[in-house]
Structures are given as C-alpha cells and as structure tokens.
C-alpha cells in the first residue's frame, strides 16, 4: 500500500451560528488543518451541513458517513446542533492495467464503524478534560471565543496522536480490560479503597488498576470508559517513557515502599511544587463535575484518586496520602502479582491454536489475543485482512441487533467465526487448512464450553 489511511480534515461547527449569508465563518468553531484559507473552510463546512440537511429528508437517523472515491467523511452530532466532522483519505495503490497506469482505491479498507468510533472518542476525550461544549459556553457567559480556544488547545495536540491506520474492531468496542482476580484479593482491594476514602474524605472517586487492567471503578461506566482510554493510551505510556529515560530526579527510595505519584507532586519534600495535575470532568454524581486526577502507582498497581477542585490539594496532603498509599499499595501489588503470574503461566502452558476477541456490551469487558499487547502498541498477530473481516462481521451483527453467528473462510484458508449472544460478542480465528464447516462449528462449540462456561452464551 503506497498510501495509508490519513487524516484530511477535522472540524467542529454549530449549524445555528451565523445563519445569515456572509456570516458563515461564525459557524466554524475549530478547523484542522488550521493553515487552510477561510474560503475553503467555509466551503467544506457548508457542504457538510448541506449533506446533513439533505439526508434528514430521508431518514430519522442523522447522517453518519459520506463515501467518495478518494475520501471518507464521518459525521457526529454530540450535542444539539454541534457537529464534528472528520475526513480521511482512502488508501490507494498505483497499478498498471493493460499497459496503462491507474490508481486503485481501496474503499473497503476504511470501515465506517471504526472511524465513527474514533470520532466519538475524539469528542469524549475533549469532554473528559473540558466538559461539554454547552458547559464551556455557559461558564463563559455564551462567549464563543472561549469554546474556540478550548477546542484549538485540545485538538491541535490530540489529532497528532491519532493513529488512524491502526483503527480496528477494538476502537468500535472501546472496552475495558478487567483483571481476573480471586474473590479474597478483590475484597482486600475493596476494603483498602473504602478505608482510603473514609480516611481522606476529599477523595471523591477511586479507580484501581493493575498492569493496565481495571480492578475497581467508583466512577460510572461511561466516565470510566473514557478515563481508561486516557490512562492506558496516554498517561501510562508517557509515564513509562519518562521512567525509562531516568525521569525527573526523584529522591532515593527511603520510605521502604515503591509508591510514587504519577500525576501530582514530583517531589514530596518540595511543598511548593504540585507538579502536573490534570483536571477532568466526570458525570458520576453531578453533570460535568470538575475534579483533579491524582494518580499514584506502586509496582504494577495504580490508583486514580479524583478530588473535586473545590477541595484544596496541597503537597503536605499528598505526603499524608503517600504514607498510607505507599506501603499498602506495595503490599497489594506484590500479592496480586503472585496470583497474576500464576494465572499467566497457566495460560501460557496451554497455548491455544486459535485467536479470539471478546466483548460484553453490558460491562464493557473486552479481551483479545489478536493484539500482541492490550493497547495495540506492538501491533497484531493476524493478517490485516482478517482483522478487517472482524470489523465487517461486527458491523453486520450490529445492524441486525439480534443474536446470531457468522462463519467465514478467507481465501488464505483462515476460518473466522463471529458470534453474538445477548450483548456479548465473540470472534474466533482458526487456522486449520483442512477443516470443513462442520469441524469448525464443533471446534467453536468446544471453545465456548471451555472458555465461556461461566456465562450464559448460547451456541
């Protein structure tokens, strides 16, 4: 492929703004790339708006995407009259046919479901750090400029981190990896968190993760979903990189534990430096509640403490937190690690000949053996075409919204089975050249009864 899926433009507009001719520019709240001249911006936004309006005549559902030979445009209306539009380039290949050079566009490589999901994520990530568009406007007394600044500040950086070419079924699910854990350890973590929240009442919500897998969330599901995305795709990798490169000059470990703040004070002896402390907006108890996100880590365990911005947070307070969190988190982390390593060893000893992706819409739990690591940093271990096939089967099953099953055999002799049963989806990739449909059907039944025996998953 000579050309990957790339971002052509990304813009946010409000269809109510600038209703009169000549004032169209007022509609535009954000436009990427910024260097494009105003006329082009107005034209593009105007065209999108026209398409949206036009398609409204045919369907109750809002316009989702627009396919052209060279581009794909996806639309999303997160708040009343606020639209976000993203256009990506269709990958192509220069070919020679009958001695004539021509460009072959691979329209099928760009899946609507994937890029619609990426667009939704882009909005939710903005909302996590800034609140809704409506809230921003309300706080700025309707001053649109404030919203524009926020959008620019956020998306200028965010869009650079988008890895569009890597979009796949996991973006569609946008799920959470949960840590499998025995009941007693889980209860100990629960009690630790309860005791923490009781000792430090200013800690409003807590989330506990181990090895980037979620163990407990005091936040509501949707808040946790986007927070999880931020933690695993942005904060953790950045922090790890810093640690690898020596990080900041931290005082040597004299406390007898391995705990440290990932966000917040870099040095607990320096009372004046609270360090970088992100603010996030969550909707667990009230709409757009602004909280500090204090993240603390010990060994592989991480705890996120959300503190309402109305409660003052100081370095001495963080020292108190550290003295409780440090020893207890260190102990918990090493106990979990013992159990976790046993589990991993047990899994590795019975290396399955198949790969799978699992997702439960009800609790957002997802699992994958298709991806080398959970956060897609090291790529996938199946062919790109097969990965795309998963996305296609998913789109089909979603459209029907009924339980069902699809079995596909690819030209490369790979069997792909997608099953959906009461809000759960299970995709299996089996490489068995000689197998026939009956064999595969039996094999999948066997897999379901071994791997999904504890849940109600119909064959």
């Amino acid at each position: 492929m000579s050309e990957d899926i790339s971002l052509l433009n990304f813009f946010v507009f409000n269809s109510e703004y600038g209703p009169r001719e000549g004032e169209e520019e007022k509609k535009i709240l954000f436009y990427y790339p910024g260097e494009v001249d105003v006329d082009t911006k107005i034209k593009r936004v105007g065209l999108s708006e026209a398409i949206i309006k036009f398609s409204e005549t045919f369907s109750d559902k809002p316009c989702q995407s627009l396919h052209t030979q060279k581009t794909r445009q996806v639309f999303y209306e997160p708040e009343q009259c606020f639209w976000i539009v993203m256009t990506v380039a269709i990958p192509f290949k220069e070919k020679i046919k009958d001695g004539q050079p021509f460009t072959e566009y691979r329209d099928d490589h760009v899946q609507d479901s994937v890029y619609e999901a990426i667009l939704r994520q882009a909005y939710k990530m903005f909302k996590l750090f800034n609140g809704t568009f409506t809230t921003i406007l309300a706080r700025a007394n309707g001053e649109v400029e404030a919203l524009k600044q926020r959008l620019e500040h956020f998306y200028d950086k965010y869009l650079l981190t988008l890895k569009l070419a890597q979009g796949d079924i996991l973006d569609v699910f946008n799920g959470i990896h949960f840590l499998p854990l025995d009941k007693n350890t889980y209860l100990r973590i629960q009690c630790f968190i309860n005791s923490l929240e009781a000792t430090f009442p200013f800690v409003k919500y807590t989330a506990f993760l181990y090895n980037e897998k979620l163990v407990w969330s005091g936040l509501e599901q949707e808040d946790m979903r986007i927070m999880y995305k931020y933690l695993t795709h942005s904060l953790f990798p950045t922090f790890m990189e810093q640690e690898l490169h020596g990080g900041q000059n931290r005082p040597p470990v004299t406390s007898g534990h391995y705990g440290k703040f990932m966000t917040g004070p870099p040095n607990l002896n320096d009372d004046r430096n609270m360090g970088k402390l992100p603010r996030v907006y969550v909707n667990t108890e009230e709409i757009d509640e602004e909280c500090y996100l204090l993240v603390y880590t010990a060994l592989s365990a991480t705890i996120c403490l959300l503190v309402n911005v109305r409660s003052p947070l100081t370095v001495p307070l963080c020292r108190k937190l550290d003295s409780m969190l440090g020893p207890q988190m260190t102990k918990l982390a090493s106990d979990i690690s013992e159990q976790y390593n046993k589990r991993v060893a047990a899994l590795n000893s019975t290396e399955p000949v198949f790969k799978y992706v699992y997702f439960n819409h009800m609790n957002l739990a997802q699992q994958t053996t298709v991806h080398i690591d959970l956060q897609k940093r090291s790529g996938v271990n199946i062919h790109k075409d097969v990965l795309r096939l998963l996305g296609d089967i998913n789109a089909d099953l979603t459209k029907e919204n009924e339980d069902g099953e699809t079995i596909v055999k690819t030209t490369s002799d790979v069997w792909v089975v997608g099953k959906k049963s009461d809000q759960r989806e299970f995709y299996v990739i089996i490489t068995q050249r000689t197998a026939n449909l009956i064999d595969i059907n039996e094999e999948v039944k066997r897999l379901c009864s071994t791997y999904l025996n504890s849940i109600f998953f119909l064959d």
């Binding site: 949960f178 854990l181 009941k183 007693n184 889980y186 209860l187 100990r188 629960q190 009690c191 309860n194 005791s195 929240e197 009781a198 000792t199 407990w216 969330s217 005091g218 509501e220 599901q221 946790m224 439960n360 009800m362 609790n363 739990a365 339980d403 049963s421 009461d422 809000q423 759960r424 504890s454 849940i455 109600f456 119909l458 064959d459």
Partner: protein
C-alpha cells in the same frame, strides 16, 4: 444499675451464716465450697451451707474438743473432722444427711509427725498432709475403718489443694520454694509430678521460710493449670509481681507469664472468669489481668499490666433486720465494709467476711468495662474471652456504627477478623463433631458471634439510624464479607440482600455490577431472582441473572422461564436443545409464549419445532390430548391452513 463505675461486684445473694463468736467457730472447705458454722464444738449443732440450697445441712456432733478442720467427702456421705494434730475423726452420713453419731478415727503414722491438714481426693479417699509427708488412705465407711494405700515421706512446710484438678502442691525445703506437685486422678493412685523451684526475689539471711502459703494459689485459667505465685519486691520502691507457672502435660512447670502489680503490700488473689483478680488491702482497690490479652514477651515469658487502672469493688448493701423501729421499716440497709480486715479470700472466686457471716462470689460486670476500655480492638478481644459476653459484644459492635461514635474501618476490620476467627474455629469443631470425629480441646468456651447475630443486632443499626451514609454502610458490609471470606466462612444470603438493597437504593448499579463480576456476591437462585427484579431499573441485571443461573447448573427451568417471559423464543429453543431438555419441556408453555409475541413466523417456527419432537417421540407429529395444545393447533390452522400441518407418516 445505679452505679456503672464499678466492674468488680460481689454476688447479689451472699450465703449467710452465723458469724464467728466465742461459741461459734466457722470453717470453710474450698474444695466443696461449703461453710461450716460449728457451735460449741458441734454439740449445739453444725450448720453447713453450700453454694446452693440443696447442699445445706444441719446436724449435731458430740463435743470432743475444738475442731481444727472439718470437711465433707465430695458426696457428703462422710464427714472428716480434725480435733488434734494426730488424728482425724470420721462420721458416716445417710443420703438424707442423718448421722448415726458413731465416729471412727485414723491417726497419722510416726510418733513425732503432726497432721498439717487433710483433703478428700474422691468420695472414699483421703490424703493426710503431715509434717513428714503424705498418707493416702481409703475410707471404708461400712467397716468404720481406713485402709492405708500409700505413704510418701517428704518434709512439708505447707500445702495447697486444687480440688477441681485433684492436684496437691507441697512446699518443702528450708526456704519453702521447692514445690512438689502430686496428682490423684486415678482412684487409689498417687502420681508424683516433677518438682520445681520458684525463684525468690532475694535470699533471706539467715535462711528461713521465704515462700509462704498465703502467696501461692493454684488455678485453672483458660483450661491450663497454673501455680500463681505472689512475689514481694525486695524493696518497696518496686512493685510486686505475680508469676505464673504453667503445669505442662508432662507435669513440668514452666514460668510463662508475669503480672506487674506496680504496688506493694498485702494482696489477695482470685480467679474470676479466667481473669486474675488481685485485691490490694491498703488502697482498697483491685486490678484484673487477662493473660490472653497481648503482653510484652521476651521470648520466654510474657509480661502483663493490669487491664485497667486499680478500682474498688462495687459497694455492697446488706439488708439487716432493723433495730430502729421509728424508721417504719423492719429492715435496714447496711453498707458492708469492703477490703475489711475480716475478709478471707478462697479460690477461685470466694470472699468471706467471718465477722459478718457472709460468703460472696466475685463477679465481673461487663457493661461498665465497655466505656473503660476505649481501644475497641482490645475491648473485643477481652470480651470474647468472657462468658455471657455475647450481648455486650453485639452492643459494642452496634455502637461502633452509630454516627458520632463511628469507628474507623481499620478498627472494624480488626474487630470483625477477631469475631470471625472464633466463629471459624467454632464452625470447624461443629463440622468435625457432625462428622462423628472426636475433637480435642472442645472446651473452647469463647463466645461465638455468628452471621445472624450480626444481622439482627448489629447491622440493624442501619435501619434505626437513617443518617448513616450509604458509603459507610457498604464499606462496613464489604469489610464484614471480606473477613468472612478470608476465614473461608460461607456468607449468608441476607447479607448480600442487604448490600444489594443499599446499592440499589442509592443507584450504585455499576458498583453492584462489579461486585457480581468478581463473584463477591456468591451465586444463588434467590440472588438471581433479585437481579431479575432489578432489570427494569438496570438492564444489565438481566444478563447477570442469566449468567448466574447458568453457573448454578441446576436452574435450567428458570432460564427457560426467563427467556420465555422476555419472548426470546428462539434462544429458549436453542437453550433446551443445548442442555438436552427438548423431550421433557412443556410444548404448551412454548406455544403460548410464541403466540404472545404476535409474530406469526415465530409461532410457526415453534409449532414446527414441536411437531418434529412429537414425530420423534411418538412417531406422530400431532399433539397428544394430555398436552393441552388444542387451542394452539386451532390457531395454527386458522393462520396457516390445514396443509401447513406436517403430514402424517404413511402407514406401510
């Protein structure tokens, strides 16, 4: 209770006896807990009073001189009385405590030996402790004579007898600190246990008796036998100590605990409910020690300090016939003098005021202690070892949850762990007993706080106090469930129900979901049903309920019911096929549900499914009359016509 500031109390109804006087002598036999009032050497009557009404008696004896010691055999059929240093006289009694007045006697052996005392080791065996050793006799009441069983030569300073364990302790040697324990467990057998020496704080010069009988008692504490020795300090600047020697199984005594008194002077020791109670006469206060509470250990010996600072015994009022008639009452209250010089204490828990004619048992009142021990951890540990402390413990646990007095979660965690440790031990013993095994050490009399107790008496606080934050309630319940799980105790359904209700009332569905995901709330049919009822407010509850029913493996019928009620006909059919239930399910139920969907295709499919089943089971696709499907057959015909029925197999 009018005064809650005292925790050591004298029993309400003391045993009253005639006070000591010129004509009346009083004796106490601590082995049988009997007090004897002997008037004029017995000629004017002997009144014996025991711990209960039944064991009281009065009789007459011939006056043959002053009595030194008087004791009944344990079955009260033989009375032994010592009137001289040489002999002990015996008198037989009938069951109704009538006596024939015919005495017989036994003299000690040797011309120069003197009888120091005697003890009954069984109904017909008696031991004389003489200056020259022990003489073990069998009493033959019919023959009115005694038979010598064994003698043991030993220099004797004094002795202590513990009737409940049949253990005799002899002090020997110039200093008196060489102690010889003898056991009389088997009838007719005297077992000599290894002797041991008690270390003395200072060597007296010249050498004389340094360990006195009033400073040594024997007691059973937490089912172990101890020799309790009061050690007076060499100088008054340091406090006295009590040293505990535990008699091991092999009979060897080992110094295990030291109790620091931080006072000096005269002390009296009692043992009440496994607590060592020390009375200090000078300050008129008492302290208690609990050797099961944590102390400071040097690896060999554990050092303990009093559970609480010194405090007096609760004042005691005695109702006496009044002389002052003007008061209008015929009885007057008399304030007994506490720690009186007339007091004598006996083991384990007896106080006698001979001048007053009162015998009390000492008791511990637990309620006042609750406010005196602020550390709840220690308090519960202390209470768990007391008898009848269950209501007090439950009350303490409940108070720990009440707003204003709320304990920290860490403190609750420790308390629940303590409660559940004894709970688990109790369950294990129960399990072993029901399995028909013999269990060693079943005498664990610790109070057991079980889940129903917690539910009814402690967690009920949540109902009474609506101002408790739900977050705290959930944290407390999770803490309790964690503790139960940690000790491997099966959690009862009502605790789950309680926590679920609280989460639901506060819209914490996602938390609930996570608890279920990690199986914190164990699977059960009632829990699954509860989840199903929540589906309207929290849709994922449906999935959670179905998963649970699936895992239970005994709830296939319920699964079918759930699916049918959700009009999920095809999944229901697939489910019965997957579990091999097709042949037994009721066709009528499925057809009815199918018709209710108002989807003709579904109805058609289900109908055809059961036609197939009929064909397979009875070689005929038609429904049998017993299946009550006529209505649906008609419906099918009206919808799809007669031709739609599966054709009957051709008869060949």
């Amino acid at each position: 209770m009018d005064n809650d500031n005292y925790y050591i109390v004298l029993c309400k109804n003391p045993i009253r006896f005639e006070p000591v006087s010129k004509v009346n002598n009083v004796f106490f036999d601590d082995a049988n807990k009997q007090v004897f009032a002997v008037r004029s050497g017995g000629a004017m009557g002997v009144v014996m009073k025991g711990p209960d009404e039944k064991s009281s008696a009065s009789f007459r004896m011939e006056d043959r001189g002053d009595i030194i010691s008087i004791k009944f055999s344990p079955d009260k059929r033989i009375l032994a009385a010592q009137r001289s240093s040489k002999t002990v006289e015996f008198l037989n009694f009938q069951e109704d405590l009538n006596t024939d007045q015919q005495e017989y006697s036994q003299a000690c052996k040797g011309k120069t030996t003197e009888i120091r005392g005697f003890v009954w080791s069984s109904n017909t065996e008696i031991i004389f402790i003489t200056s020259g050793g022990l003489e073990h006799y069998q009493v033959l009441p019919e023959k009115r004579s005694l038979k010598s069983l064994k003698t043991q030569a030993l220099q004797v300073n004094w002795y202590v007898w513990l009737g409940s364990s049949n253990l005799l302790l002899i002090s020997s040697g110039t200093l008196g600190n060489t102690l010889y324990p003898f056991q009389f467990k088997t009838p007719g057998v005297m077992t000599k246990l290894p002797k041991f020496e008690v270390d003395l704080p200072a060597m007296p010069r010249p050498q004389k008796l340094a360990l006195l009988d009033r400073d040594v008692i024997m007691a059973v504490i937490y089912e172990n036998l101890y020799i309790v020795v009061l050690r007076h300090p060499p100088s008054t600047s340091t406090g006295a100590e009590i040293v505990l020697y535990q008699i091991q199984k092999e009979g060897l005594a080992r110094k295990t605990d030291v109790l620091k008194l931080e006072m000096s002077g005269r002390f009296a020791i009692n043992v009440v409910d496994n607590l060592i109670m020390v009375h200090h006469q000078a300050s008129k206060t008492s302290v208690i020690f609990d050797i099961h509470l944590e102390g400071k250990s040097d690896g060999y010996v554990t050092y303990h300090y009093p559970v609480l600072s010194p405090l007096g015994i609760k004042p005691f009022k005695l109702l006496l016939p009044s002389l002052n008639m003007q008061a209008g009452t015929d009885r007057a209250e008399y304030n007994c003098e506490l720690y009186s010089a007339n007091w004598i204490v006996f083991q384990p828990d007896i106080v006698i005021d001979a001048k007053l004619g009162c015998l009390w048992t000492l008791q511990i009142s637990l309620n006042p202690l609750v406010t005196m021990i602020p550390d709840k951890d220690r308090l519960i540990q202390f209470l768990l070892n007391r008898t009848d402390s269950k209501p007090v413990i439950l009350n303490v646990c409940a108070q720990m949850l009440v707003p204003g007095k709320q304990a920290s979660l860490q403190s609750l965690a420790k308390v629940y762990d303590m409660l559940n440790l004894t709970y688990k031990q109790h369950l294990d013993i129960q399990g072993q007993l029901s399995a028909g095994e013999t269990v060693s050490g079943t005498g664990n009399k610790k109070v057991v706080i079980e889940q129903p107790d917690m539910f009814t008496h402690v967690f009920s606080v949540f109902e009474e106090h609506k101002d408790i934050k739900y977050k705290f309630i959930v944290a407390v319940l999770i803490e309790y469930i964690r503790s139960l799980n940690q000790f491997g105790i099966l959690v009862q359904h009502y605790l789950y129900e309680l926590i679920i209700n609280i989460l639901v009332q506060n819209n914490c569905f996602y938390q609930l979901h996570q608890f279920l995901q990690y199986h914190v709330l164990s699977d059960s049919k009632p829990l699954a049903c509860l989840m199903l009822s929540l589906e309207t407010v929290y849709p994922p509850a449906h999935q959670l309920a179905l998963d649970m029913l699936k895992r239970l493996q005994t709830a296939n019928e319920e699964i079918v019911e759930v699916l049918l009620s959700k009009q999920q006909l095809l999944p229901a059919l697939r489910f019965i096929r997957s579990v091999g239930n097709v042949d037994v399910v009721s066709a009528r139920k499925f057809l009815e549900a199918a018709l209710n969907t108002n989807d003709n295709m579904i109805f058609y499919t289900v109908f055809k499914f059961f036609e197939q089943r009929n064909l397979k089971l009875k070689a005929n696709p038609r429904f049998q009359t017993g299946e009550h499907c006529e209505q649906y057959v008609q419906q099918f015909e009206s919808l799809f016509g007669y031709e739609a029925f599966m054709s009957l197999p051709t008869v060949q």
